[in-house]
Symmetry: C2
Subunit: 218 residues, 2 copies
Amino acid sequence: MARANPIDKHDERRRALADSALRTLGELGYARSSLREIANNSPFSHGVVHYYFSDKLELIVYGVRQYKAVCVTRYDGVVAGATTAGGLVSAFADKLCETIVDEAPMHRLWYDLRSQSMFEESLREAVQQIDHTLEDMVWRVVTRVAELAGTDVALTSHTVYGMFDGVFQQALLRYVAGQEREALDDLRTEVRALVPLTLGAGAPGAAGAAAVEVRATA
Amino acid sequence: MARANPIDKHDERRRALADSALRTLGELGYARSSLREIANNSPFSHGVVHYYFSDKLELIVYGVRQYKAVCVTRYDGVVAGATTAGGLVSAFADKLCETIVDEAPMHRLWYDLRSQSMFEESLREAVQQIDHTLEDMVWRVVTRVAELAGTDVALTSHTVYGMFDGVFQQALLRYVAGQEREALDDLRTEVRALVPLTLGAGAPGAAGAAAVEVRATA
DNA sequence: CGAAAATCTTGACACCTGCCCAGGAAAATC
DNA sequence: GATTTTCCTGGGCAGGTGTCAAGATTTTCG
């Protein structure tokens, strides 16, 4: 039986280690996660980290990169399956809520790391890259909504990302603080209210924004 | 000569200590700031902290609360002095840029602390309180813009805060990462574009949003 | 099988952390 | 000036940190 390429095996091990680390990091945050604690919540010993990674930081960045790489594709499905602007907006809002419920620890870790990057220069490059892929992700959603609504997006992708990231972060903060219901309900209605605002006054029919909003809140 | 009330003196000392601590915290972040490092960048010794504060956390929270308390009044002047909707929007945008330039370390510390609050329960109450005062602050600005434009705000204060906090944070991230010009320019135009979007279709004249936007971008 | 290479464990290292406290300086009070 | 109270210092403690290296263990392969 064919064995795996040793390089693949090495990479697979890195992935597994980083994956284990993410669980602990999501629970304790960047600052409180020691390598020993990370190793305890995993099938590895604390020393093995330096066999696969040169650094604690490299391990963490590797893990978060890995996580966000799949995270970023989460909305491709809803974009592909959408048939109406309002439907896509609702689906987008629902997915955002879903990911808060399912992966709150990972999201708070991301915001933790992003904040750390303002102090730790060595984190900046990775954070900026990830932030950019996230920006692209919401841009794909919003431009598709515009397309379905027969209009275009009236704001830059950076602006759109900033505002949605902001309301998402607020929802996460509330959710983690125990106000789960409120956080999710508000996030849903906020997204449905905000997406139409990003659209220009469209070509066909009435004002694109208003038209989408009606369907979204229906 | 009259001496100060001993309680006032005690409080004054606390304030001074917390103030010194903020400088270090803004430079190193929450995780890297040790009490010894904080004391080194101050006229105090590391032991005195436990004379005025029970805890490292209490010191930090006290300091950030103190800072944000004055921070929150920074826009009252521009609100009071505004005579037109567009003028207020521009002044608001300018002030936001100004505070990034002048106090980037404090802002990144705030975001750091807010992220930490998602892991550290004992931070949550203070963070939520501060976040609420910030929300009120931008709400005062936006409602005044609406008033001047003869319309009202079409979103909740929580939503409005979320979106502006988001674009502000993005600007801060870029600014700290060295893209100062780009960050400030984008933030200014983003704020001028977004504020009108928060307004309802006003009573007098044309659509309130459009009317404000014209003056803002003039 | 046996040697060589890889993977992993364990324990140690130098250092740093928050916190506490004995003792002394300074100030206030009488 | 003496005494009491307030204020502050600096050292020490117990525990935790990232990193590393030497050895054990496993895997690979001639």
